[in-house]
């Protein structure tokens, strides 16, 4: 059959398919195609195969291909029903993924908490060491920040609490996402960001503690720290998983291993981002509040215990997630 006749024969069907396609594309995402759409689509696939095998013109072939690609995108669209998975993810998927990565969690914890502990010990004996880490202006700024009586809070206005909430989200989630991205550099980027954060936090914490501001400082950070510090560690784990898969791909090709690692890492990141949102809320509305120091310590301690218990115990009964190594 000559191309001209073929086109004349089939044009009606193509036009119908195209109308169907436009209707589907203009409808909302995830709309189910009507029952006859797959059949129409397959007819078009058949037409394309015929056109190709008979050497019809490339322009026609490209045209058919672009229509088919549009239909393909609708028919083979991956199902993303997020809502149903959220509860399952946080009740067992996330904590069991974290448990499955316990070696990396331990490594990243050392990278973040190691410098903090070391600086505590070091600045305790040589207080001036803090100026090797932080500039005098920054030290003065932090001293001023925590110099106020904890009872008075920051300045107690709801507006400024919302402001700080927004700032913490922007800043902290940004740090976490960068920590993850750094993992592509064979994990080195993630490790460095964790170390740097550990050094900064350690220097500030140690300095303020030994300058007599320990009550102001610790009562402020203990609450949201319970979510924020583990979240940063887990962002590091996500990056390290990607970097490690790249370094030691095992039986997979390096690219396939990287992809698998990135897939796992991004699921960890979902959890990390939720933790950081909660932490930002706590930091802005609870840590800065005027609650008595003792209450803050108690709540903070309970939060730490809760977070640790969550990662150790949650979702044990349902077993491991199949794809969380």
């Amino acid at each position: 059959m000559k191309q001209a006749r073929f086109v004349a024969d089939r044009e009606v069907h193509w036009e119908r398919y195209r109308q169907q396609l436009q209707r589907l594309q203009s409808r909302r995402r995830g709309a189910t195609p009507p029952a006859n759409f797959p059949a129409q689509y397959r007819r078009l696939c058949n037409d394309l195969a015929v056109a190709v095998s008979r050497g019809y013109s490339l322009a026609l072939i490209q045209q058919l291909q672009s229509w088919i690609h549009a239909g393909h995108a609708l028919l083979y669209r991956p199902q993303t029903t997020v809502s149903g998975h959220i509860a399952a993810f946080f009740s067992h998927g996330f904590p069991s993924m974290v448990r499955a990565e316990w070696r990396l969690v331990a490594l990243c914890s050392v990278l973040l908490f190691g410098p903090i502990i070391w600086l505590f010990w070091h600045i305790g004996s040589t207080p001036e060491f803090v100026y090797r880490v932080l500039s005098p202006e920054m030290v003065a700024q932090y001293e001023q920040m925590y110099a106020r009586d904890p009872g008075t809070g920051r300045d107690g206005r709801a507006e400024s609490e919302v402001l700080m909430f927004a700032f913490y989200i922007m800043n902290n989630v940004g740090v976490a996402l960068r920590t993850f991205a750094g993992g592509l550099l064979f994990g080195v980027g993630s490790g460095l960001i964790l170390l740097l954060n550990g050094v900064m936090i350690g220097a500030v914490a140690a300095h303020l503690s030994f300058e007599g501001l320990h009550e102001n400082f610790w009562s402020f950070v203990i609450g949201h720290g319970a979510l924020e510090l583990p979240a940063i560690v887990l962002a590091g784990v996500a990056g390290a998983r990607m970097g490690l898969n790249l370094l030691l791909p095992g039986r997979l090709s390096r690219l396939a291993a990287l992809r698998q690692g990135a897939g796992q890492a991004v699921r960890l990141l979902y959890g990390v981002m939720v933790m950081l949102l909660l932490a930002a809320g706590l930091e802005a509305f609870w840590s800065a509040s005027t609650a008595p120091v003792m209450v803050k310590y108690l709540v903070g301690g309970a939060l730490w215990l809760g977070v640790i218990a969550y990662f150790l115990l949650a979702g044990r009964r349902t077993g491991r997630v199949p794809d969380g190594r």
């Binding site: 672009s66 927004a166 940004g174």
Partner: protein, 237 residues
């Protein structure tokens, strides 16, 4: 099957994806230049939004600043992800250049891969101005930057920019002197369809390759080939 392979002869950057229906879709990956330009457009749009929001929210004082921080966070980190997943794989900049992000198998990009490829921009940007991404794009045939490699995604031309089937100009129809194979028929058709877009000298030059068959040279040879193409295509006199 052989003819299928011939249809997507790999002399350009197109790359075939076999669908479950047993046909090949030829995807046309986009190179660094249009993608960089699309990125620039997106950058301008983002800056515009931020400046506009900054001015509008400055009236609201502290609350305005809080909203500004949140907006900055969303636009800085999630602008490309939201557009790619919710708007058919294209940010406004990409759309302007007829580009689209898809999964490597030709299916629409989903949340996970989109987040991976956009977060890893941070690394592609290193050490400056997307140098790492550029090197990565030059090292593989699908122009994937590092984020694309990790996510299993690629940026393609949608094809909307290109024209549909080109009609052959009317003219004489002539039976070809040989029985051409499907591949050869296709080459003749493509030549005849495209000759309107080439300059006459180039058309003549190409048609001269077939002089032994056409018995003419230059423009005469080209019009003879066009007559064969009409016959192959089945046009009426």
């Amino acid at each position: 099957m052989l003819a299928q392979a011939g249809a997507i002869a790999v002399i350009d950057t197109r790359y075939p994806v076999e669908t479950p229906d047993g046909i090949d879709l030829a995807l046309h990956p986009a190179g660094p230049i249009p993608r960089a330009l699309a990125w620039l457009i997106d950058l301008i749009i983002r800056l515009g939004i931020m400046i506009g929001l900054g001015l509008a929210l400055s009236v609201l004082g502290t609350t305005g600043l809080a909203l500004f921080f949140l907006a900055w966070f969303v636009i800085n980190w999630w602008y490309p992800v939201l557009f790619e997943v919710l708007a058919n794989g294209a940010t406004p900049g990409k759309k302007a250049f007829g580009l689209r992000v898809i999964h490597e198998l030709g299916t629409p990009v989903t949340w996970g891969p989109s987040i991976v490829r956009n977060l890893l921009r941070q690394v592609d940007f290193l050490p400056a101005a997307y140098a790492a991404g550029l090197v990565s794009m030059m090292c593989n045939r699908r122009f994937q930057r590092l984020g694309d490699l990790a996510a299993g995604t690629l940026v393609i031309y949608t094809g909307a920019a290109r024209s549909g089937p080109t009609e052959l100009p009317d003219g004489p129809v002539e039976v070809p002197p040989l029985a051409f194979s499907p591949d050869e028929q296709q080459v003749l058709l493509s030549f005849a369809e495209r000759s309107g877009k080439l300059n006459p000298e180039r058309v003549g030059e190409l048609a001269n390759l077939l002089s032994p068959l056409t018995g003419h040279s230059g423009a005469d040879s080209a019009s003879r080939v066009a007559a064969w193409a009409r016959w192959i295509r089945g046009s009426r006199q």
